[in-house]
C-alpha cells in the first residue's frame, strides 16, 4: 500500500528558533542584539522586545562573552580555528545553573554580518563532575593514613637491614616500598587535580628566584637520584631575573618533571635543568637521557589520564603533566615537549617575570 508523506506546514525560521530548548542570541557586526529567543531571554532575565538593538555588553553584560563576540567581529569571521566556547554559571529563577555558550560567526554571502550565540544547559554534567571531584578528594584523603603506616613500616624494615631480610625477602620488601611510593604519588596527583578542577587552588604570586625553586624542588628527589646514580646538571645564569609566580605550585612542576625524568632515565644517566630569559619570559627546561617520547604523543601526554604505553612507564594516573599544564597556563605560560625516540626528552615551560614598569610603580607606592 502506498504511503503518502504528510506534508509539514510551512514554519518560519523564527518559530523554530523561538521553540528551541537552547538559548539563542544573534548580534549584528556592531555587537548589537538583533534576535533573542524565549529561552535566552529567560536565562539572562531580559525583555526580548526591549533588548533588540541594545549592545550585547549593555543588555547581558557578560565580559568574556562580549570579548568573544568582538574577537570574531575583529577577525571578520575568518582565521578562527573554532568558535569560541565558554562555560557560564548563571542563577536562573533562583536556581544556580551552568550553560555552555558557543559564539560563532554569522556569515551571509561570505561576509560577516554578526555573531550567533547558543546557550546549552549543562548543569547536570557540571553537578556530576563536582560530585566526582569531591569523591576523588575524599578517597585520596582517606588513603593517606594507611599509606603512612605502610611507608613507615617498610622503610623502617629496609633501613634496619634486618638480618633475615635478604635475597627474595629483601626484593619483596623493596617491591612494597616502591609501590607505596607510587601510590603516594597517585594519591597526591588525584587530590591536586580534583581540587584544581573544582577551582579550589588559589594563586599566591610572589617574586622568587628560579635557582631557589630548583633547590626546593630537588629535596624530595635526592634519594631517588642517588639510588639510580643519576648526574644532575643545573644551568641557571646568576643574573636571571626573578619570576613572578605562585612559588609552591611552580616548584611542584619542577619536582614533577624531574621526578618523571628520573623514572625514565637509566641508571648512571643524566638530567639537566636549565633556565634562560627570552621574550620577557623565563624559559625553564628539564631534559633527560631516557628513551624519549614518540612525536605522536607530544600533545596527548598533557591530557589528563593519559599514559604512553610501552615506554617502561611506571603506571601513574596520567595526571602529573595535566596538572603541570594547568599550573603553567594559570600563570599565562605554555608547556611543551621536544623529543625523539631514543634521544631523551626535553620538557620546557615558560614563567612570567614582573615588568620593570610594574616594579617601579610598586616601589613608588611603597616610598
Amino acid at each position: 500500500m502506498a504511503q503518502h508523506k504528510r506534508r509539514l506546514p510551512v514554519v518560519s525560521a523564527e518559530t523554530v528558533l523561538q521553540s528551541l530548548p537552547e538559548g539563542t542570541i544573534v548580534t549584528d557586526a556592531t555587537a548589537a542584539i538583533r534576535f533573542i529567543n524565549k529561552r535566552a531571554a529567560e536565562i539572562f532575565d531580559l525583555n526580548p522586545v526591549e533588548s533588540i538593538g541594545q549592545l550585547f555588553a549593555a543588555a547581558v553584560g557578560n565580559y568574556s562573552l562580549n570579548k568573544a563576540i568582538h574577537k570574531i567581529i575583529a577577525a571578520g569571521g575568518k582565521c578562527l580555528p573554532e568558535a569560541e566556547t565558554k562555560t557560564l554559571n548563571i542563577t536562573v529563577g533562583g536556581n544556580e545553573r551552568y550553560f555552555k555558550a558557543v559564539v560563532s560567526p554569522l556569515i551571509e554571502e561570505e561576509t560577516l554580518v554578526g555573531t550567533v550565540l547558543l546557550f546549552t544547559d549543562v548543569t547536570h554534567y557540571e553537578r556530576a563532575d563536582r560530585i566526582k571531584n569531591q569523591f576523588v578528594a575524599t578517597v585520596s584523603h582517606e588513603f593517606r593514613n594507611p599509606l603512612t603506616s605502610i611507608v613507615l613500616a617498610i622503610e623502617l624494615l629496609l633501613a634496619g637491614r634486618q638480618p633475615d631480610l635478604c635475597g627474595e625477602n629483601l626484593a619483596l620488601a623493596q617491591a612494597i616500598s616502591d609501590d607505596a611510593e607510587r601510590l603516594t604519588r597517585l594519591v597526591s596527583n588525584l587530590l591536586n587535580f580534583s581540587r584544581m578542577e573544582a577551582g579550589e587552588i588559589k594563586m599566591e604570586l610572589e617574586r622568587v628566584m628560579v635557582a631557589e625553586m630548583v633547590e626546593t624542588a630537588m629535596i624530595p628527589l635526592a634519594l631517588q637520584l642517588k639510588a639510580k646514580n643519576i648526574k644532575l646538571r643545573i644551568l641557571i645564569p646568576d643574573d636571571l631575573p626573578a619570576v613572578y609566580v605562585d612559588a609552591t605550585k611552580a616548584t611542584w612542576i619542577l619536582t614533577n618533571l624531574v621526578g618523571n625524568a628520573i623514572r625514565y632515565t637509566p641508571e648512571d644517566g643524566e638530567i639537566t635543568i636549565s633556565a634562560c630569559l627570552k621574550e620577557k619570559k623565563i624559559f625553564v627546561s628539564v631534559c633527560d637521557s631516557g628513551p624519549g617520547i614518540h612525536p605522536r604523543y607530544h600533545e596527548k601526554i598533557f591530557e589528563k589520564y593519559t599514559q604512553v604505553k610501552g615506554n617502561g612507564s611506571s603506571g601513574g594516573a596520567g595526571l602529573g603533566l595535566a596538572i603541570a599544564k594547568e599550573i603553567v597556563e594559570a600563570h599565562g605560560g605554555k608547556i611543551w615537549v621536544k623529543s625523539d625516540l631514543g634521544k631523551g626528552a626535553c620538557f620546557r615551560f615558560t614563567l612570567p617575570i614582573k615588568e620593570k614598569e610594574e616594579l617601579l610603580l610598586e616601589e613608588d607606592s611603597v616610598s
Partner: protein, 123 residues
C-alpha cells in the same frame, strides 16, 4: 633524652612513628585524641609534640589552640601531621602557632629531619 608526645589515633601509624623515634634515641609517649593530649602535656612534659589533625573528641586544631592558650604548654613546639595536606589547614595550623607541618604519608628520615630542626630551633 628528648621526650616526644605523639598525638595520633591510628594504631599502625603510632607503631611506625614510635619505632622510628625510639631508634633515633628519642623517648615517646602517646595520646589517642586531643583531650588525652592536653592531659599528657601536663604529666609527661614533652620537649616536642607530633599532632594529628583529624581525631575523635578534641581535634588537632582545637588541641593546638588550647595548648597555645595555656602558659605552661605554649612554648612546646608542635609539628602537625595530617592527611589533610590542604593549604588552608597548613595556614590555620601556622596561625595557631605550629612550628612545622608534615603531610602524610612521610618517610621515617623526613620526619626525623624535621624533628631535629624544630628541636634545634627551640633551644
Amino acid at each position: 633524652m628528648k621526650k616526644i608526645l605523639l598525638v595520633e589515633d591510628e594504631k599502625n601509624i603510632v607503631l611506625g612513628v614510635s619505632i622510628c623515634l625510639r631508634s633515633a634515641g628519642l623517648e615517646v609517649s602517646v595520646a589517642e585524641d586531643g583531650a588525652d593530649a592536653l592531659k599528657k602535656l601536663e604529666t609527661d612534659k614533652p620537649d616536642l609534640v607530633l599532632l594529628d589533625l583529624v581525631m575523635p573528641k578534641l581535634n588537632g586544631l582545637e588541641a593546638l589552640q588550647a595548648m597555645k592558650a595555656n602558659e605552661a604548654t605554649r612554648d612546646i613546639p608542635v609539628i602537625v601531621l595530617s592527611a589533610r595536606a590542604q593549604e588552608e589547614d597548613i595556614q590555620r595550623a601556622t596561625e595557631l602557632g605550629a612550628a612545622d607541618y608534615m603531610a602524610k604519608p612521610f618517610r621515617p628520615e623526613e620526619l626525623l629531619t624535621v624533628i631535629r630542626r624544630v628541636l634545634k630551633e627551640s633551644i
